[in-house]
Amino acid sequence: MAKIGLYLCECGPNIAQAIDLDEITEAIKKDNKVAGIERHKLLCSDDGKKFLAESIKRNAFERVVIAACSPKQHEGTFMEVMLEAGLNAYMFQLVNIREQCAWVTPDKNAATLKALTVIRAAINRVKHHAALEKKEIECNPNVIVIGNGIAAIEAALKTAHNDRKVFLIVEGKRIGDTYKNRRLLLSSMQSAEEFLRSKVDELKSNKQIEVFENSKINEILGFFGNFIANIDTEKNKNVELAAGSVIFALEAESFVPKALTNLGYGKFDKVYTAAEFETIDVDETEPKSVAIIHCVGRKKLGYCSKFCCMNSMKIARYIKERSHESKVVQFYRNLCLPDKQYDKFYKDTKEKGVEFVRFQDIEVAGEESRLAIKYKEENGKESKLLVDIVILSTGLVPASKTEEFSQMFNIPLDEYGFMKEEHNILNPVATITEGVFIIGGVRGPGDIDDSLEQAGAAAGKILSSLVPGRLQPLETKISRVSEVICIGCGVCVNVCAYGAVKLDESKHISVVNEVLCRGCGNCASACPSGAAQHRHFTTKQINQEMIEILK
């Protein structure tokens, strides 16, 4: 029998006054399951920690139960003391008799009984604890970036450094292709081509960045710190690239309003989407009057794409700058101007003579050689306006390859088809697959500022976690699957949120990837045969703990 030591912390008056620690000591002594019981005024104090370490050593305890406060507060503290005392940090159980007994149970007898019960349970549990070892792995600091737009370029520029190479893979295109079709950048009204050229020049002069244009990704295998991509480049087939992290930076695509027949798209030549309008020769078209219709597809898409109000105004100003006489009318529902600079941009746009009309319903019809905008305002007033061309300000939809790439890493898609963030607020560019990041159009609609910021954010996550030359510590409390018991049903594969459990086809059993497992225990609770076990919450540990409580 392993020698178990029990320590009772008085926590000043907090525990000592609310719980009868003498009674507990007597009862545990009678149980005769521990080799010694010690009591201290405040175990977490420097004095207390010193006492604890020395006492464990002196008594040669092999396992330890501490009855004190919440594990949230001091589990880490006491695990360090365990190490100091020469024991494995997991041969220990902390029982919360403060927050869960002393502070919430006013009746002293009831509190004492409750504390005694959970202490007994912990003693029964700790007998079945196993020593767990901390593991570390070597990591590759290199980065694979997939995409061809500004987010991809920025991500490459921000991550490349002396000791970190970046492989920028552009599938089936040249770098920056889509930007060549844009005249001006949002709000700053800077030339998009110039901006892009300066970024591409920077990219090409950086020796740590390798760009693979016109390439194809065959597969990416591996996990955080150790990914291997197999790609076909322009010159070679099956090129292998090793990296520690992967950034998906595909650009979002423009919604194609084919189904919205009332807006005349596909029916009249002079009805363009905003993206198409960027590519046509405006001087040749010479529009005298232009209608720009906002929020096209918003109802169908189910979200506001954020960039379109500003983009519509940018186009309006572009037309006005070329021909001040032309009439440009913005038909909108709600103006979305979420930046400190945008109200001013809107005011300036109005001052330049661009008109704004709020509509409730709108329809585009042909009338002789022109286009008729028939609209109803919010007050119900119906009007008509004849124009030469109509520009549909459409929302953004996920890049077409989003789904394919998401399957490569088991990254779930959200209800709109974008890749899901690990957490929409707290971890917005990470995914549930550690080391795989999503920026720009694969993770949601946004503008150029969003793309640039998200690229920098992914860089921040990578630079701070994959430090060249440093070993990566792994989660200690993880799951494992017994080869003998596993029947290969695959239930655990489906419930793992981190893609850490895979079916080994040859052996027909499940295998846990120790790098990816975060120890959530989903597989262990779902496993019908008991083969999947969480290493620090084994069925035996939990059962033995419960038996004491339910006695």
Partner: protein, 423 residues
């Protein structure tokens, strides 16, 4: 000359916490300076966060716990940066640290000291909706869980020989002769994350804030709904009555500020959700100009709240007055050129977001340029680099933004800081 790799982060709200954790994880020493006695910033004042309505403190607490345990991060509360010299790669910083009068080493946070304290003053954290003692923690769950003595109100500062808190403390944690300190630190780069405040719109007569007791601002309402707040989450008027109808006013002061504060449409929609959740019989009205809810997820949340029955009224002109009996409020407004009015029991304003006064002060001290609106100016297409080499600015000190974007900027600043101070 070798660059100093240590980093100074000013402000321990959401932005400061995120960037500090990332830098510390990269192996850097971080000095995190926070002016308040607690950290977590404005984010911990909210009950829930849109669009998924997750509990705000539950979202932040694990990060706060990680930070407190992180040996690379030195959190300095009750502290302010008072001086700077040097340049990028080698800044010398002077931090003034106010006395807490409670030993962080000895205190276990049991709270035995503040119960017997005889002093009672308005609790600023609770928007003065409740009282606190002279020795106190800002709210239940505030971290670090160590009280502070407010010497402006402590009886000892008035010459009285009160030592009730010291007697109540079993851990010898009360230190009456604790002193303010000036600490000098050397760092290679600085991240400013000093946050925002809501504009005081009491001078805008038409809203009646500060004049009519049941006109609340957004933070006041947020604390009313907070389960750890002054009413334990019960939404009530200042007369302790359950409101039957509440008017939520968008864009308060937008003409004065000259910008959209981004987050108000969503949080007022959240308030409508709070109202239907806590007071199912109550009516809620949102008086808005433009409904701006960019990004995925927000439309869905807004649709759900609309289905619960919030009434959306578009208006550019409105005026709030108190009924003659002093009980209800009247909102008169112009809708499609027609004058209408609604009687409500409570009004909640969404005043524009402006830089925190300490942001302005700090910008001057650090020699940082401000933009037209008083936020710290950054480079074009580089939203986190302030106009002084080696200084970055993140979060709402740079401009109003959603929490998600605060986190993103913190992560960008981590990348920039690490690159700048790398060999």
């Amino acid at each position: 000359m070798s660059k100093n790799k240590d980093i100074l982060v000013i402000g321990a709200g959401l932005a400061g916490i995120e960037v500090s954790l990332l830098l510390a994880n990269a192996g850097r020493k971080v000095y995190l300076v926070e002016r308040e006695s607690y950290f977590g910033g404005n984010a911990i004042k909210s009950e829930e966060i849109t669009p998924n309505m997750e509990c705000a403190t539950c979202m932040l607490a694990p990060k706060q716990a990680d930070l407190l345990e992180n040996k690379n991060i030195e959190l300095m509360t009750l502290s302010e940066v008072k001086g700077i010299s040097g340049d990028v790669g080698d800044f010398k910083i002077e931090v003034s640290k106010c006395a807490r009068y409670v030993s962080s080493t000895n205190c276990i946070g049991c709270g035995a000291c503040f119960e017997p304290c005889p002093v009672s003053v308005d609790n600023e954290f609770e928007e003065k909706l409740s009282k606190r003692k002279a020795i106190y923690i800002a709210c239940a769950g505030a971290l670090p869980n160590v009280p502070v003595i407010d010497m402006d109100h402590c009886l000892r500062a008035k010459g009285e020989d009160c030592n009730i808190c010291k007697e109540a403390c079993m851990f010898d944690a009360i230190v009456y002769d604790d002193k303010n300190e000036t600490i000098e630190i050397n760092v290679g780069a600085i991240v400013v994350a000093t946050g925002y405040t809501l504009a005081d719109t009491s001078h805008l007569d038409k809203y009646g804030y500060g004049k009519f007791k049941n006109v609340f601002n957004a933070f006041e309402f947020e604390r009313l709904r907070a389960s750890n707040g002054p009413t334990s989450g019960v939404i009530q008027t200042r007369d302790h009555k359950q409101p039957k109808s509440i008017g939520l006013i968008h864009c308060v002061g937008r003409d004065e500020s000259g910008y959209c504060s981004q987050v108000c449409c969503m949080y007022l929609t959240k308030f409508a959700h709070y109202i239907f959740d806590r007071l199912p019989e109550a009516k809620a009205y949102q008086f808005f100009r433009e409904f701006s809810i960019p990004g995925k997820g927000n439309q869905k949340f807004s649709n759900e709240v609309r289905e619960k029955g919030v009434e959306l009224i578009r208006t550019k002109n409105l005026k709030i007055s108190e009924n003659s009996d002093g009980q209800g409020l009247k909102i008169e407004y112009e809708n499609e050129s027609v004058n209408e009015s609604i009687d409500v029991d409570m009004v909640v304003l969404a005043p524009y977001i402006k830089p925190h006064p300490s942001t302005t002060k700090l910008a001057k001290l650090l020699g940082l340029e401000l933009d037209d609106f008083g936020f710290i100016k950054t480079g074009a297409f580089d939203s986190v680099s302030a106009m002084r080499p080696g200084v970055f600015v993140i979060g709402c000190a740079e401009g109003p933004k959603f929490m998600k974007n605060v986190i993103i900027q913190a992560q960008v600043a981590a990348a920039n800081t690490l690159r700048l101070t790398e060999d």
